[in-house]
Symmetry: D2
Subunit: 262 residues, 4 copies
């Protein structure tokens, strides 16, 4: 299907600042292709596209003091989002590629090393594979309340496992932590989601089963119609939409994802 | 029933030290009566019996440098431990006495303020009363593994809720935290237990339902035949068996609880 | 000096609710005397004055569904607040009364058991007594930034010790935790402060030195001209101004403390 | 200088297990060259050398049930360890390569996002560069006690920042967290150290200053004569010497690092 994606934001910066921007999906991914895209920013001293260690496109700019804004729009050809197959296989560790293995390790917001017994108690007796990962996501959806303003940038899976409240980012971190505790590679994805209400940047999960990455999103019981990844990483620390080195205020931010006729 | 209780310990102290000892049950309690007791310590410069804020008998001594040991033995007439009645009633807050109200508040090792949603999700829909408290204890027993050496003196309910492993102290703290999150007064009890294997000091819980304190012990599915409280408090911080102000080693410690013929 | 104290608040309650209110200072304390006071509440089904375990006056009411408000005003004769004397003596544990001893133990928001080495490193070599406590308060003031909106109701001394930001409550908790780690009894006090800008309920600390409780307030380098305690406890968990058992919103809250002519 | 390095370990495995072994330094690094090396393991079903995401050599094996042991020995030509230069420059973020940028982000055991204000208070006013990083290491050495058995595999910089005790791994994590909070890329290195007493695997830090990685080791005030890296990563989670997927006991483990004549 064809999607029109648009993200804009305006900041008030106390000083000229370096800025890292991650709002541009990779030009082509496993389940999407960018047909056309345009990024405009208020005049900046430099604007360079780079790749981080995980392969994500990252825009490095120098943003001016005062008002700074960007507008990104793209047309993206995206496959419909697919249900995680019940029988997608968990692989033994030595069959995992390096690129997946790193996602079995604990990270800042996914303390899988603390959640080992909890994961075993809750999911250890389920048959391995896609069905087990779906059970993890269902557990998280059933045990965690979705509510804005209850968690913050330092909230981690350890917190969410007991406080039982959060937003998409927290849901994703808890799913990831449980999966890793079960030795299933799981990574954080920031991206665009069709059908999110209210529209916003979205955080969800990909697990590596049967030699491919599969989407899983614990914030909904239905399938999101389409998910377009922007950046992947060990958790949200690796996938910040915008990083600024100067004190600033967010004046305005908006995201739009629409299906358009082909 | 009649119990013979005996507790001994030997310490190696680097210096003369203040010592607070709490191994002597109150002479009479709701469900026990001390028939005779004897405490001997290696020569100490002073030895005074006092009461802490919670009413617990506390022995204040000055222990000598080097070897220091105590031996406490008692004969105690104890009622058989009773099952927490299914229908014992949860009281509204303004009907609780001050002495029970303090036990609805969070404390060092029972962070009920963090566990509110978890308690509501797991137990909020159960009918209030004794049956609900028993469900809490059963949940803790079913979800937490009992294992020595996995927790320490700073482990709290928050940790146990996610790490899912611990000893009697940790089981008690988690039960207490859940109960308080449900507005049920719950306090920590250190005491002697008949039938504990291996024998040791025991930590369990009392909840205030229907105008009385009731025992609840999440470490066992059966009823402990008898429980004799030594000290109660908001959590284990208030009920340390021995507090020493000088660096020291525990050389030996033993507890014995036997049923004797009347 | 003579103070006019006034506290008002309005809540919107989803349902009739129990309410515990602690805004009334004890009629007479070590350094103040209530000359006259008046509490008015919107019609309530019951309103009873009780004492909690720590001796604090606590008003138990049943608040109506919908708008609920109270207004408390008092005239208080208060001694000027006194500097904590440099030479006020730390007492050995067995000379502390039960009423002070409980305040050497860790509590929910004052994890002194975790901060022992930090307290020893920073303050262990200072001469014991009032001067050391003042050094603790100065350290906290010098190392923690005062800023609204950076901490919340579950923030504890452990958090503040590393995040280094908070409000009066957090400053108090950290001072308390350090003092207890040094075996100095320290308790949390909620109260009225003259000269607070903007006016609000205040949280500060009392330490027990030389057989008396002394005020210490880490949020200011100068001496607050007068402090009138409302409630004392192990930490803020024991001294909540208002406790409601029903979901609600705070519509308005205001505090006023003025010096008046005698 | 020429070093003879030897590492051995024996495990008792409850079952056949995958095993990842990281004891082999890269054949050539910025400051060392492996002259010869030999790895022997008890018969294993497979033994393959791979590279993880960070470029570390990782041995993947299938270890047999029961006794399993390995012996690694190597001769390594190593440059003498060099003092971190006082004037090595901190680079602005957009001049950092992707390979260094990832090491400015928080990780499982280095919660730099929590330590921002603490890092600013303690080190924010120092002139940037190598001297500042050395001040960080000196602070950690001066404020944290080195002591075995006080920390565990889940201990993180957040814990060490307040508990102030730990081993080389904890010292490294805290240095890393502070550096990242100052926007200085810092990574964890597991390796062999000449002169460690008792001999063991060592954990230390590398910071990226002036376009190169520099060693810094907070556990000693003197310079370690030589450090040979085995693996680098965001923290110790990425650099485990041995990972086993089956319950097991460590029967024996030994490390030896000696200087030999050329």
């Amino acid at each position: 299907m064809l999607l029109a994606v648009r993200a804009t934001a305006t900041y008030e910066l106390q000083d000229e600042s370096f800025a890292f921007l991650m709002v541009e999906p990779p030009l082509s991914g496993a389940r999407h292709r960018v047909v056309e895209e345009r990024l405009t920013t208020t005049p900046t001293r430099s604007c360079e596209l780079r790749r981080d260690l995980y392969g994500n496109p990252q825009r490095h700019l120098i943003a001016p003091k005062g008002r700074f804004s960007f507008e990104f729009s793209a047309t993206v050809e995206a496959d419909p989002n697919a249900e995680l197959p019940e029988h997608a296989a968990e692989l033994p560790p030595h069959e995992l590629p390096a690129e997946a293995l790193v996602y079995t390790l604990p990270s800042r917001y996914c303390e899988s090393d603390l959640l080992g017994r909890m994961a075993q108690t809750e999911f250890g007796r389920l048959p391995p594979g896609g069905g087990r990962v779906r059970a993890v996501a269902e557990w998280v959806r059933g045990h965690v309340e979705y509510r804005y303003g209850t968690s913050g940038p330092t909230t981690s899976a350890r917190d969410t496992a007991i406080q039982r409240v959060g937003v998409c980012r927290d849901f994703a971190h808890l799913v990831i932590a449980f999966c890793r505790a079960l030795d299933i590679p799981a990574r954080y994805v920031s991206g665009y989601a069709l059908g999110l209400e209210p529209p916003d940047f979205h955080g969800f999960v990909q697990v590596y089963l049967g030699e491919a990455w599969h989407n899983i999103d614990a914030t909904t019981g239905c399938l999101r119609p389409a998910l377009v990844p922007i950046a992947v990483g060990r958790d949200a620390a690796d996938a910040a939409m915008m990083t600024l080195w100067t004190p600033h205020e967010v004046v305005e931010q908006a995201v739009e994802v629409r299906r358009v006729a082909e």
